[in-house]
Amino acid sequence: MSHFTKTFSRIFLILMAVVLLPAPLLAMEPAEIIKKSQAAFYEAGQDFQARVKMTLTTREGQQRLREFTMLRKNDMAGEQKYFIYFHSPGDVAGTTFMVYKYPNRDSDRWLFIPAINLVNRIAARDSRSSFVGSDFTYEDVSGRPLEADTHKLIKEEAVNGRLAYVVESVPKSAAEYTRKLAWIDQVTFLPLKEEYYDIQGVLYKVFTAGEVKEIQSLSTIMKRTMENVKSGHKTDVVFERVQYNVGIGDDLFSERYLRRPPEKWIK
């Protein structure tokens, strides 16, 4: 074999590989996909406001309804602030909840209990614990550090006619799950579906995105469901009156407003 043919066949092989491999696999690292997905899902806009209806349903069909206004503001360096005002159930109306979320340490949480007019700091179990008794954890609501998991692109697959990356995430240290599969929309980067596997390797939780709407040209999941397939418990979440970039001031996220939130933000 001559020097020329050797070189030629090498080049040919490289070319073939480039042509034959699916373009997106080459184009995007799995961690990159997750990062973009988190940005689209948890960090869209400068700030965010919505009226949220959360329905908890037991296997037996018993239901609990929680209705709240949720405010979110993105800060410097990946920090986020959340403000939640509960409208129902009636006997907890006026309860407010505030979270300062930091990228690399535990969040701070405060709760205002109107019946005893007390603001209390809460050290919750950890970010894996349930968010207001729902099937969503705090992590599911506000995101999980990108570096906490090892991400791997498994395949590409269509979900309800939308092409998605299927990314597997395996935690580096003990977490709520031992493996997560996420179907991430190749256009909007919103998760369309997620499957969570527990320590026994068994599927226990499934996230499904429902209706997606363009709001101020930001794709937003308006309806979502988290179902614990093992316990049969299910949480449906509906977003209403979603608005981005409404200009929430930093002063809102204070003890003073926790006790007496301004009418215009919580209605």
Partner: protein, 775 residues
């Protein structure tokens, strides 16, 4: 052929003519039933004593669903006598918990241990909800602080932690379809890796059930055959002929294989009750001894074998038929009861009894035909009611009965009075854990856990209202708190737990851990917001286990320190008294949980058995009356049996043994079996008296000849059943001892008491008219 031959059943005549064909046919049918045995499935769940549709099971399911409770929970107790608050023990608890998470079939989200239970505490001015032990303290100071904090937390003490800090428990709930044995075995493989100063105890309903299942198989596969072997040896010693011994054993085996084969064949599982069928059939099969007993005497008198066989069947045919009828009736009565395993047991023992009777008239004559004449002759020469010492001794017994009839009757009446007093002291109770032997792993584990923690037997009291948010009202929770306090006044109650405990705890923690706030707040909004807060921080099942979604129903759980059924009876009585004295309109407290189930089940079995006993008594009496064509004779024949039963229950009353499930089952079973002796005695006596005409001589002959059969039967019974005294489970031991004493006692009373009764009541019994009645 003489006239007696024509009265012998057709089956026997055929068997004597074609012994080989008969034996082959029986063998073929037996093999057919035998093919079903390997398909056997066992059912060791005591819950299945009651059908799934029974109200108590249905309501238990409702409570479990409404409060997200798990049916099966394995409990691992961990004890370190030096205290568990050291890095090593806490490390082990944490590692074991993590390993348990990995076992398939374990409900990961609801495993409860010090490292996986939500604890509500005040910490540096904030409210924290996190595992009781979230990280293991590194300094002695921090360790002491953790110890103090956990031991003063009423949510944990007696549930997860003993008051002295030496014991903790890991509660492992199982998925409904999980195999409890496999999971328990996996947990056992974790423990050796964590061997140290700690002692581990595995307990809980599923573990007990599986251990029970294994030991039940031991019982069937080991103790039934041993009892068979012992019978074999005793039979050989009595008759000195192997073929004969094989015949008796063969009858037993055939009936066991046919009835177990049929039962398994129709798809019924082997339950604790039906696992005793083989032993019972073996015992009932010993009735065929009367045939051999008589045959030996006959063969000695008239050495034509075929003739001797036919004569024997002619002589004992009627008593054999009626004893089988009485026994079958006594068991078949159980088919009318409510408890399904009891029904099945009764039906298949009755079926086996019918098979035994069939064999008595076919297999036994066929086998006797195939024995070489000289073989039997040598042994039968010894069978002489006058010469042999046993026969002389037996007629001596009867003579005592005859000559001291009044004294015996008086003594009997006195004993009866004493026995009745004993019976009046009977405790009705049942304790499933006591079915295991005192030093068994299960009993020891249960005892330790009950000593250290709140108790292993769990009851639920569902407080049911129909008003949404009812259980957020201060007065409702205060009522609940009061009821809990009242129940905890009972010695058997180790701990109670309800939503009120969470509310009090949060109230205190939100007020800088001030003890004065360890109470129910005054406003509904406050309670609602506390629980909302708790629901925001803890795992969902914490709240779901104690209150339903609309807050209409609460679940008050009560841990009992004993599995005694009567402990639950006390709890229910206490609730009734409390609710009568304190009213909470619109609320009803309904019991549920395994402790309540055990009570209901216990009561149902007992009342079923009492009904069965009375019904069996009426039936057996009817069979006797029909057999003797006389009510008075039936009464006389019943007396030894009733006397024996009174004696045994009298003793049980005096020694303070609980009148429990096995004992109550036995009472019914014993009737049909113990009456056999009297049927043989009275039947043969009547025959003899007819031929003889002399009362005294006829009685002495009956005692010496059929009496020997009775004695042989009783001895065989006693020896075979005494093997059960070594069984691994106490119900089997009870059954063994009970039957041994019943058989020996009723044989003795029959041999001594019946002669006395016959002499005393000879006028009333119209002895003179017997000749005319029975041609």
């Amino acid at each position: 052929m003489n006239s007696s031959v024509r009265k012998v059943p057709w089956l026997t005549r055929f068997s004597v003519e074609r012994p080989r064909l008969v034996m082959t046919l029986i063998l073929a049918v037996t093999l057919l039933f035998l093919t079903q045995i390997p398909r056997a499935k066992t059912d060791t769940d005591p819950k299945n004593m009651l059908p799934e549709t029974s109200p108590v099971r249905v309501y238990n399911d409702v409570v479990e669903r409404e409060f997200s409770l798990h049916k099966d929970v394995i409990v691992l107790g961990i004890v370190n006598d030096d205290g568990i608050f050291n890095q090593e023990t806490l490390g082990r608890i944490s590692r074991i918990t993590d390993e348990i998470f990995k076992i398939p079939g374990v409900v990961v989200r609801d495993v409860t241990s010090l490292t996986a239970v939500d604890n509500v505490l005040a910490e540096g001015g904030q409210l924290a909800v996190r595992p009781a032990v979230s990280e293991i303290p590194r300094t002695p100071g921090a360790m002491e602080e953790l110890r103090r904090s956990l031991l003063t937390n009423p949510l944990l003490v007696n549930r997860l932690l003993s008051g002295d800090g030496t014991t903790t428990a890991i509660y492992v709930p199982l998925e409904p379809a999980a195999n409890a044995r496999l999971i328990a075995d996996r947990i056992k493989t974790i423990l050796p890796k964590e061997a140290g100063r700690e002692r581990y105890y595995l307990a809980g309903d599923p573990v007990a059930r599986d251990t029970f299942g294994i030991q039940m198989f031991y019982q069937m596969a080991l103790f039934s055959p041993i009892a068979g072997m012992v019978m074999f040896v005793v039979l050989w010693w009595m008759f000195r002929n192997l073929t004969l011994v094989f015949a008796v054993m063969g009858v037993a085996m055939v009936s066991i294989v046919w009835s177990m084969g049929l039962m398994i064949g129709v798809g019924l599982p082997v339950h604790i009750m039906s696992s005793m069928i083989p032993v019972f059939l073996m015992a009932i099969a010993t009735d065929s001894i009367h045939i051999f007993n008589e045959f030996y005497f006959r063969f000695r008198e008239a050495p034509d074998k075929k003739q001797a066989i036919l004569d024997t069947i002619h002589a004992v045919g009627r008593p054999v038929r009626y004893t089988a009828l009485a026994t079958a009736a006594g068991f078949a009565v159980l088919a009318l009861m409510h408890i399904i395993p009891v029904k099945i047991f009764g039906l298949f023992v009755a079926f086996g009894t019918v098979v035994i009777r069939l064999m008595s008239f076919s297999l036994i004559p066929a086998v006797l035909m195939s024995i070489k004449d000289e073989r039997i002759r040598a042994v039968s020469l010894k069978e002489d009611e006058i010469a042999h010492w046993t026969s002389r001794w037996l007629s001596g017994l009867a003579r005592t009965g005859l000559s001291h009839s009044r004294l015996l009757a008086g003594g009997g009446l006195a004993l009866l009075a004493i026995a009745v007093l004993g019976i009046s002291r009977t405790h009705v109770n049942n304790n499933l854990v006591d079915w295991f032997k005192p030093h068994s792993e299960i009993r020891v584990a249960d005892q330790i856990m009950n000593e250290k923690l709140g108790g292993t037997s769990l009851a639920y009291l569902a407080g049911v209202s129909s008003v949404p948010d009812f259980w957020k009202r201060p007065e409702a929770l205060r009522y609940l708190e009061g009821l809990q306090k009242d129940l905890e006044g009972l010695a058997v109650v180790g701990k109670t737990f309800s939503v009120a405990d969470y509310v009090k705890r949060i109230n205190r923690v939100l007020h800088q851990d001030t003890p004065a706030y360890d109470r129910i707040p005054d406003s509904q909004a406050e309670i609602a917001q506390y629980l909302f807060l708790f629901g925001m921080a803890a795992k969902p099942s914490d709240l779901d286990n104690v209150v339903d979604y609309p807050f209409e129903k609460v679940n008050l759980s009560v841990q009992l320190k004993t599995w005694d059924a009567r402990a639950m009876r006390d709890v229910i009585a206490r609730v009734r008294t409390y609710t009568a004295g304190h009213s909470l309109p619109g609320v009803e407290f309904k019991p549920a949980g395994i402790a309540y189930f055990n009570l209901v089940w216990n009561d149902e079995v007992l009342s079923d058995m009492l009904r069965g006993f009375l019904l069996a008594m009426v039936l057996v009496f009817t069979v006797l009356a029909f057999n003797f064509r006389s009510l008075r004779w039936a009464l006389v024949a019943c007396t030894p049996l009733l006397f024996t039963i009174a004696m045994i229950y009298g003793v049980i009353g005096y020694i303070g043994k609980d009148f429990d499930m096995p004992i109550s089952v036995l009472s019914t079973l014993s009737l049909g079996m113990a009456v056999d002796f009297a049927i043989h005695f009275v039947g043969r006596f009547q025959q003899r008296y007819q031929e003889e005409g002399d009362l005294e001589k006829a009685i002495l002959w009956t005692a010496a000849r059929p009496g020997k059969g009775i004695m042989r039967n009783a001895a065989l019974f006693a020896v075979a059943f005494s093997v059960m005294a070594f069984a691994p489970l106490t119900p089997y031991i009870t059954v063994g001892l009970f039957i041994v004493s019943m058989m020996l006692l009723s044989a003795a009373v029959t041999l001594v008491g019946l002669p006395a009764l016959i002499v005393l009541f000879q006028r009333g019994l119209k002895l003179s008219s017997i000749k005319e009645k029975m041609p």
